[in-house]
């Protein structure tokens, strides 16, 4: 079976073939032969080249959060419909919504409507759980819409800003 998989932002083709006790996989142009077993809920055990590897898989949004070797990666299986959506999305040149990770209060606006922002540049300062933290832009772009004002109370998942990345790149 063939799949298209996005691992930490990069897309690869994965081909899997199951035989007795073994999995043969092709990821991009790399080949793997391994043993795999779901040993506990959310835990897979792999034997790859005599290396005993534990992998932790938990659902995360549309995909999974996969941890192994001290790294945690977002992984998403793209079916035909999702692939189309992804392409269309990037075709629209990435207007990205920035949302509040938890309820809190906007104490300061750092980048208003129309402001140019770099990746990881703060858009607002939010106070939550007695701590102040910057809510950052994930991409380079322009603030297309700032949805909050100073002093506003926001709930978890509320829209803070839309960053338009179309002018960038």
């Amino acid at each position: 079976m063939k799949f298209t998989v996005m691992v930490a932002g990069e897309t690869v083709d994965v081909e899997l073939e199951r035989t007795a006790g073994e999995i043969r996989a092709k990821v991009g142009d790399r080949s793997y032969v391994l043993e795999a077993r779901a040993v506990e809920p959310g835990v897979f055990w792999l034997n790859w080249n005599q290396r005993s590897i534990e992998v932790f898989v938990t659902p995360n949004g549309d995909g999974y959060s996969v941890s192994l070797g001290g790294h945690r990666m977002p992984v998403e299986i793209l079916d035909a419909r999702k692939k189309l959506k992804r392409t269309k999305h990037s075709g629209h040149a990435g207007a990205v919504e920035v949302r509040a990770p938890l309820p809190g209060k906007i104490v300061r606006v750092m980048a208003g409507d129309g402001a140019e922002v770099e990746p990881n540049q703060g858009i607002v300062v939010m106070e939550a759980m007695k701590m102040q933290n910057e809510i950052k832009s994930p991409i380079r772009g322009r603030i297309q819409k700032l949805a909050v004002v100073e002093g506003a109370t926001v709930g978890s998942g509320d829209l803070i800003a839309i960053v338009d990345g179309s002018g960038a790149e």
Partner: protein, 486 residues
Amino acid sequence: MRVIRACAEMGIATVAVYSEADRGALHVRMADEAIHIGPAPSKESYLAIDKIIRAAKETNADAVHPGYGFLAENAAFALACADNRLTFVGPTPKAIALMGSKVESRRAVARFGVPMVPGTMDPVESQEEARKIAASVGFPIMLKASAGGGGKGMRSVRSEAELAEAFRTTRAEAMAAFGDDAVYIEKLVEGPRHVEIQVLADHHGNAIFLGERECSIQRRHQKVIEECPSPVVDSELRKRMGKAALDVVRAAEYTNAGTVEFLLDRDRQFYFLEMNTRLQVEHAVTEMVTGIDIVKEQIRIAAGEKLSLTSDDVVMNGVAIECRIYAEDPGNNFFPSPGTIRLLRTPSGPGVRDDSGVYEGWNVPIDYDPLISKLVAWAPTRGEAIDRMQRALREYRVEGIQTNLEFFREVLNDADFRNGQFDTGFINRWLGQVKTNASPTQAERDLAAIVAVLADSVSQKPEPESSGVSGGLWKLNGRRQGLRRR
């Protein structure tokens, strides 16, 4: 949880109180009885004295253990317990109130000759007065809110030029945070370590100390790693600090368990900071090294029993280290990361103690401090204790939310930490260093993709027992689907 465990071992039945957010929390499940006391905001539940007193009376409780948060250092609560003929497992309201005031506590212990950082004891009223005092003790200085604590309401001032502005903002912040703008001045001790002494005092005039704890590893003035003993305190210094701590106990006419906090400078001079009139989060490291169950001692003292030991009977054996495991994201400025724990595996094995408050499927609420566990490792030597902690941190798996586990793994690898060479500024400097975050290898990325496909193919199929893949997958899928619907 900690208190429930001690009670269970002593044959005492327990009642847990809980807010809306803690419905189904681990400590509530473990208690014999449970009383719902209100909505998630702590003001309307865990800080509502009348509601907690009512819960105690309703269940015919004899005593109230306040834990180490919320009302644990609240004199009004201790008084309310006394008024309602409930034994408060802690010091008297008077001792709590006295030690709760920075100014009053300093005045009280000064009479017993306990060393203190040079500075004022009284609130500083004006800019001019502040300037005079600062000049007499010498810069750098600290401005501190009298009603502050836990690292809140204090600010360092390095020169006279900064003083006016700093004085104004510290007062304003103190007013906003504590409703009291009293501020005092202390000389700033450079390169200080935070070393505290655990004390126990009964109602018969006996008081003992259980060695020290090294708590210099702090982030934003909040302790994150604690150890017992301190790598720089020898038995001679321990005795001197212990004696000073017992002087503080006498000054406050203190009873029950408490902690006397000191600053220790580079020349091994120590200065009284404050006294915490409750059980401390980090008490477990002292328990592991001394073998004394502090919570049981608290209960015995509250019941009027005499201490069965003297300070000389306390034997320090080995080294214990504690890491405070938080639901927070070190990659995003330690922003809280509440949410559902999708997968939890806790470490065990020799010398490991995990005082956890969560379970798989538990939703870490956004309403409170996101501390999920206190992980303690004990070993005969400090080096072995660090290695053991590293092993326990590697065993620890939490999925679904972010945690600071990886942060601890890196800090414990730091050469200065391993050598015991650090002060309270360690974490700040450490965070400022450029770190090369190892990214996953190509093989790790590929294996992640393969496993995701395996997990996904399982979750897509509707019927169990119809594939060549091992049966565990179906259970996995069922569980995961269940979680997803939550």
